[in-house]
């Protein structure tokens, strides 16, 4: 780049000064560039990635790009190369696109060798880029305040352009790629504008309109807008008119000018020859010498006139190229924003996380013409889980742990990264037949995951693409965070609704369960008031006693369940003769008309709370009678340091899906809900008490059909606890 830095002629060096503030837009930065007066150093306070204009200038004129944050830098000196004789004013904007593209691709790094080219188009174009800043207020990048610049120099030779760059194969391919990339964006933006909401197109129009207004405003304010300068130069070059001249008109004018010049100078040369050959006499009114001098003077005068016009024509053609370049740049920028806005809207239009992830991936692929890609989300253990995938060898749900992958690198560094041709192996461990870009998905400082976009080798990604993907990653990450929040809230609401439904069901169940004993009690009282025999009256009193006992048990169960729920349980563990206890419960059940067969050894001790144990066995036996079918067996089997208590029935059994749910409070199995009594507390109480005694409860299919409720209990315990059960409410 050093070759461009030294002024090769006596050209006055252009001084550029610019001031960054955090958040300055690259375009505004370039505005400062039109100044060539000596402006004292200004404090540069810019984030490197945002200083695209700096990069632009750096690439263009070897000014060091990307000023570090908070540095007091001397204003970079831009030395311009001399006028190139090979300048072709009508040259299209091709060469100038490269630096502009670099300017737009803020944050990207370009390592390609710099072509020799004149900075002039870009310098002159800076004013328009300043307008671009006005046109695109939402342009990403730091906010920036351009330093007011002094009057532009009028020395045309210093600014003379050299639009034809010595195009090496490298620069050519790069230029072509950039041009292709830009046109891609244009076509994509147009397609999107058709497909996506009309709002996008409307906002685009609005932006363009406001851009035009801003352009006029900037021209008025600066007083040296490029159009004014074009008109001025056009007038000076003899191309005055209402409309701006075209580059073709300038070329024609130049041919015309030099054609006339050649004719005139040829005639003067002929005149000189004639005057030299002709004999002069003394009586001539003017001497031959004087005549020759006059002809030479005329030739000189005309030559000066022609050169002056040439200068103006050159400046005019350069300004026209600038205009075209800047318009292209603005169009590209607008298209990029349209595409990003459309993609941002798309990812925010859905709330379901899976859908959001799919939209993010498809939007990114569509925007960047990637052929395949994936979204990976960071998991709690630091692994990256593939959650959305298109085309790659990855599988949804796959977890990536290796840090050597591109995604791993990006997750670790939180910096966007890309691998070009031949490095695909780094990205995915494949044959290197792909190019890949990876950007981190960061929301509020938290790394959520990585977005990976890949393409085949015929679609070469550049830094500009990486920059666009990075910009897209921001709304994408926000959308993921929102979708997660929404998902969590939705699950919470579903849980609350489920709880509410269960409570309603509980109230219905309890009221129903209260009605049944109340019916018997009221009926018994009504019957007892009638003339009945004494033994019948005694029977009625038994009914009343049984049913009030049932009511009391129900109230007790509800209280016990509430106790277990609120305070857990601290039962009094001691040695219990389980075999005897089981036989007693079986006897009670027998007396109540519900026979139970006991299969137990003579003695079998466990460590448990006696009251809790009695309730466990009673509840399980009642449960078997209510929901199972006879015969019902109570089995006690010692098993090492544990004892297995089983209550086996021959009913329909418990469906697999309900085997855990039946131990939830208030839950009542689907098939028993409507035709069996019960309030859905018996089994939850059994589980709570068994666990409090250090045991566990579950249900399984009984051999030969039916349900087998198993309670595993300990035979020994570390220490007996003296705390009474149920525990008194803690203060």
């Amino acid at each position: 780049m050093a070759e461009a830095a030294e002024p090769a002629t006596d050209a006055k060096p252009r001084r550029l000064s610019f001031s960054f503030r955090a958040g300055a837009s690259p375009a505004a930065q370039i505005a400062a560039d039109t100044a060539d007066a000596d402006i004292p150093p200004v404090e540069a306070d810019a984030r490197p990635p945002a200083s695209s204009a700096g990069r632009l200038l750096g690439e263009q004129s070897s000014i060091a790009p990307a000023p570090p944050a908070r540095v007091l830098a001397p204003p970079p000196v831009l030395a311009l190369p001399p006028v190139s004789d090979s300048s072709t004013p009508a040259r299209p904007a091709g060469p100038a696109l490269s630096p502009l593209a670099a300017a737009l691709g803020a944050g990207a790094r370009t390592d390609a060798p710099l072509p020799e080219r004149s900075p002039a188009p870009v310098v002159a174009g800076s004013a328009l880029m300043a307008r671009a800043a006005t046109v695109l207020p939402a342009a990403p990048g730091p906010e920036m305040t351009p330093v007011p610049h002094a009057t532009a120099p009028e020395d045309p030779f210093v600014e003379a352009p050299a639009p034809v760059e010595a195009e090496t194969p490298d620069t050519r391919s790069r230029r072509q790629r950039n041009t292709r990339s830009r046109s891609r964006f244009r076509s994509r933006a147009h397609t999107k504008a058709k497909v996506k909401a009309k709002a996008t197109a409307a906002s685009g129009t609005q932006t363009a309109a406001s851009g035009a207004a801003a352009r006029t405003g900037a021209a008025d304010a600066g007083g040296a807008g490029i159009e004014d300068r074009i008109r001025k130069e056009a007038r000076s070059a003899g191309l005055g008119g209402a409309a701006l001249p075209s580059t073709e008109a300038v070329a024609r004018r130049r041919i015309q000018l030099w054609g006339i010049a050649i004719v005139v100078l040829s005639m003067i040369a002929v005149a000189l020859v004639i005057t030299g050959l002709s004999k002069t006499s003394g009586d001539d009114w003017v001497s031959a010498k004087t005549l020759r001098l006059a002809v030479i003077g005329l030739a000189l005068g005309f030559t000066i006139y022609a050169l002056e016009k040439e200068v103006h024509l050159r400046r005019l053609s350069r300004l026209l190229i600038d205009e075209r370049v800047i318009n292209t740049a603005l169009t590209n920028r607008l298209n990029m924003h349209s595409a990003l806005t459309a993609a941002g809207k798309a990812v925010n239009s859905v709330l379901d996380l899976d859908e959001v992830l799919e939209v993010i991936l498809s939007s990114a692929l569509e925007m960047l013409e990637g052929s395949e890609g994936s979204v990976m989300l960071l998991e709690a253990d630091g692994a990256l889980a593939v959650v959305a995938v298109q085309g790659t060898q990855l599988v949804k749900g796959q977890r990536l742990r290796e840090d050597s992958s591109l995604a791993g690198l990006v997750a670790r560094t939180r910096e966007p990264a890309m691998v070009g041709a031949g490095h695909g192996a780094v990205a995915r461990g494949d044959d290197g037949s792909h190019v890949a870009m990876c950007v981190p998905l960061v929301n509020r400082g938290e790394l959520l995951g990585v977005l990976d976009v890949e393409a085949r080798l015929d679609r070469a990604f550049d830094e500009y693409d990486l920059h666009v993907l990075s910009l897209f990653a921001e709304p994408a990450a926000a959308a993921i965070a929102n979708a997660r929040l929404y998902g969590a809230e939705r699950a919470h609401v579903a849980e609350l609704l489920d709880l509410d439904r269960m409570k309603s069901q509980f109230v219905a169940t309890v009221s129903h369960e209260l009605r049944t004993p109340l019916t018997s009690i009221r009926g018994a009282i009504a019957a007892a008031r009638r003339p009945v025999a004494d033994e019948q009256r005694a029977e009625l009193f038994d009914v009343i006693e049984r049913q009030t006992g049932r009511l009391a048990t129900m109230v007790e169960e509800m209280f016990a369940a509430a106790q277990l729920e609120r305070h857990g349980s601290a039962p009094l563990l001691r040695r219990i003769e389980l075999a005897s206890l089981v036989r007693l419960v079986a006897l009670d059940s027998q007396v109540a008309g519900r026979p139970v067969k006991v299969e137990a050894p003579e003695t079998c001790e466990v460590r448990a709370d006696p009251e809790a144990m009695r309730r466990i066995v009673t509840n399980l036996v009642e449960n078997a009678h209510k929901y199972g079918a006879a015969p019902i067996r109570l089995i006690v089997e010692p098993d090492g340091d544990r004892v297995m208590l089983s209550v086996v029935d021959h009913g329909p059994g418990v469906p697999l899906a309900e085997r855990e749910r039946i131990f939830e409070r208030f839950y009542r199995a689907e098939h028993t809900r409507d035709n069996r009594p019960g309030i859905g507390l018996g089994l939850p109480i059994v589980r709570g008490l068994a666990e409090a005694c250090g045991g566990s409860v579950w249900v399984e299919d009984a051999p030969g059909g039916g349900a087998a409720f198993r309670v595993s209990l300990r035979t020994r315990h570390a220490e007996d606890q003296e705390t009474p059960w149920p525990a008194s409410p803690r203060s």
Binding site: H512, T516, T519, P531, V532, V543, N675
Partner: protein, 128 residues
Amino acid sequence: MAGKSKILIVDDEPDVLLTLRMILESEGFDASLAADGETALRRIDEDHPDLVVLDIMMPVLDGWFVLAELAGRTRRPAVIVCSAKSSEADVGRARDLGAADYVTKPWDADDLLRRIRESLGRREHVGI
């Protein structure tokens, strides 16, 4: 009313069966019992009761099944549904299945007896 009216009490709760039978017998009815739907249908076929006091929530075959079964018969007893279920949907369903009346548990004995007599009266009036 010619002779004693025969009433079948269907309920899975033994104490309800016991008390209701005493009440009905003390009022001069001939009461018989069933503890589930299957037994009830059998006894209806054997005894031909004039009226059935039918619970809904029962094991084996529930009251809805019994009602639906009776609804398809031309000669059938009057049915008073007597259930702890009290929603309007249940009342409507019972009516649709041809129940003569619907009493919610816990019933009042005098009210239940009045409804039983009304149903039997209607039945006699239409000459079934």
